[in-house]
Symmetry: C2
Subunit: 409 residues, 2 copies
């Protein structure tokens, strides 16, 4: 879709709310204007809309060095609840947030391999959502929306899992099925875009013009936050960096091609590199990616030479793949996210930076930072809840008035 004035207004509304959240405990309109580059009049209009939506609240005044005292606003944290659902291959993680995106309750349910039918998965999601609503003791009408992240390719407008690679799902109408259990506004997208939106709102991409969020897990991908907003592509499937070629005719990839980035730097690819280097290594836990990456992380800390070499080789592949993103997109920042990035941490980052520096062009390299995600909680459920927040903010503000305006106060 072509951008319209309405899109830019929505983007500006997001931007102002992000800065209100970042400016906790309270922030003036003047500060928001300076921070966003928007005019004070525009900020005042947008804050008016956010007040009407109940997303922010007036919290007093600050002195302005002899001038008129300035009104301060803050996020209206108790104004509603948002729920984020991270559906992964082996678990469902659900978190309930207030409007400042602080976790009020969370739940995790195991998904057993045999429970991969849509009806079973949807029932699990619904039960987990109900449990966090009960734990947080939030009335149903205060839940403003539920965002669900499903692996694979999704049609977000239709709420359909177009292709779920872990369970071989094709065209499953996830949101229609969920709507039979849950009375809340529902939003669907995938983990890559959820992570990216989480970084854009609350993490290392906040306030950056062009950022790439690289998710390192079983699969890998690159969420693109260009011009301050998520680049989705024509069919909402941009970001499949894991399936770009690194080694023509290289390792076979589960996508059917050969030599994809994912086949070298996804967790199974890292296990393969470890196996090729040292087939009998005690670091290798067959059929357990998580345990193997944890063992590699500990091995790095202990200076185990096989762990060091495996991570160095991985960083060489990863550095080449990231240099491609630097050269093609010229971003301000690349954020490494996902459980593999968290598990290998700073030692991986140092090797990766060296790998990128060895391959990227001088000019784009000079303007790109590479950092680990600073988000301390599950970024996927945080991002999924943020989709629910964005859905709420897309509402036309005049339709949702505070109760006092409706003569009910």
């Amino acid at each position: 879709m072509r951008r319209t004035s309405r899109d830019i207004r929505t983007a500006n509304r997001h931007e102002v709310l992000r800065h209100v959240i970042a400016g906790a405990p309270a922030v003036s309109r003047q500060h928001l204007a300076a921070a966003t580059g928007l005019s004070l009049a525009t900020v005042a209009t947008l804050i008016g809309e956010l007040l009407h939506l109940g997303a922010v609240t007036e919290v007093g005044y600050e002195d302005s060095d002899g001038g008129r005292p300035r009104g301060l606003v803050a996020v209206n944290a108790p104004g509603g609840a948002l729920i984020g659902v991270d559906v992964a291959e082996t678990y469902i993680h659900v978190a309930l947030f207030d409007l400042s995106l602080t976790v009020l309750a969370s739940a995790e349910a195991e998904l057993r391999p045999e429970e991969n039918e849509p009806a079973a998965v949807v029932a699990h999601i619904a039960a987990a959502v109900a449990s966090v609503v009960a734990t947080a003791a939030i009335p149903e009408d205060r839940v403003l929306g539920v965002g669900v992240s499903m692996p694979g390719q999704v049609d977000r407008e239709g709420g359909v899992s177009v292709f779920g690679p872990n369970w071989d799902w094709y065209d499953v109408p996830v949101l229609d099925l969920l709507a039979e259990h849950l009375p809340y506004p529902l939003h669907l997208d995938n983990p890559l875009r959820a992570c990216t939106v989480a970084e854009l709102w609350f993490g290392a991409a906040r306030g950056r013009e062009d950022a790439v969020v690289v998710n390192l897990g079983t699969g890998v991908g690159a969420g693109l936050a260009l011009g301050g907003t998520l680049h989705r592509g024509t069919s909402n499937s941009a970001g499949e960096w894991g399936h770009t070629t690194l080694v023509l005719n290289g390792r076979p990839c589960h996508c059917g091609a050969h030599g994809c980035v994912e086949s070298y730097v996804g967790a199974p690819g890292i296990m393969q590199s470890l196996r090729e280097l040292s087939p009998g290594s005690p670091l290798l836990r067959p059929d357990d990616q998580t345990a193997t990456v944890e063992a590699l992380g500990r091995g790095l800390a202990d200076g185990d030479p096989v762990a060091v070499k495996t991570v160095r080789d991985t960083a060489r592949y990863l550095g080449a793949g990231l240099a491609d993103l630097v050269n093609l997109l010229n971003p301000e920042v690349i954020v490494l996210s996902g459980w593999v990035a968290a598990g290998l941490g700073e030692p991986l980052l140092a090797e990766v930076r060296a790998g990128v520096a060895g391959r990227a062009l001088r000019r784009p390299l000079a303007s790109t930072e590479i950092v680990l995600s600073p988000i301390p909680t599950n970024p996927v459920s945080l991002g999924a809840a943020t989709f629910a927040l964005e859905g709420r903010l897309a509402a036309r503000p005049r339709l949702i008035r505070p109760k006092a305006d409706r003569g009910e106060g």
Copy 2:
């Protein structure tokens, strides 16, 4: 830079003018509103600004099936002249356009290898510009701007060639030097972005949300037109797809890395593939890329097996590199531009489409067209002139009034 309401107004002004140009000989505001998705009120405001800028003109009325007759507008073709300069390694091509971007005059000057000093190149550019102004018999004050495309990395705000790989230029202040010769507003960028803007305004990317313009020549690159505008990146160096890795540890590339896309599908890379396949082939013209690509094009037409195999191998590499763009960016269209694409034409396109289909993911592949550039003239000088047009359109419209308004009529 973050997008502001001003940016979106500029983008909308461009969009409306593009549709006025496409709607020749004349178009109504109602048609423009339908074509752009903007409101009729917004279109009316933008057309008012374009009238003030002298870029469009009122040309009469059309019947509207019984309603009020509708005012028609058209490009004000004779309202001014724009000049585009394509500086290449061995030549300078200059074209002078009217405001409908129709060529009124053009000139080409050879650049000899020894004439690679900034002062010599700038003097050549100035002379070529002066010659097209004289040929077209345009008064100096009707020249609204000159856009210059220089190979390599450029700082467009400063008008500096940061790095010109063909002549080993570093930090040459091209526009400051040119301003000593030419009294016109000057704009600098590189051929990749010039081609991309030409496609966005006049070619296969027009009206598309997300397009990639792949320039195939001695060097190769991918201009990114995302969200309907050029994605420049943080330091105006996005698009270096030629220096993304296709074959880790593959052919050495002049950038210092190995296995870059450019080392396989740039003209010297194609010559290398031909040489490896058939060292004594009569198709191979040592030290003459242009003649070799022309010979390959003729060989394809004649069914020469060495030409067919060379182009098939090239298309395999190119297909893998384009599949990366499809998977990462999920564009609506990929446009093949540049002299190598023009020289190998439809046979290359057919092989490339097959190569991409064999590697790209199903969902993004289904939404991506791959086409040859439909622009019949030099797209680089057209795009360079378009930068001058965009510079003109960025003027605050109220400052530039038609003469009649100033009491001079």
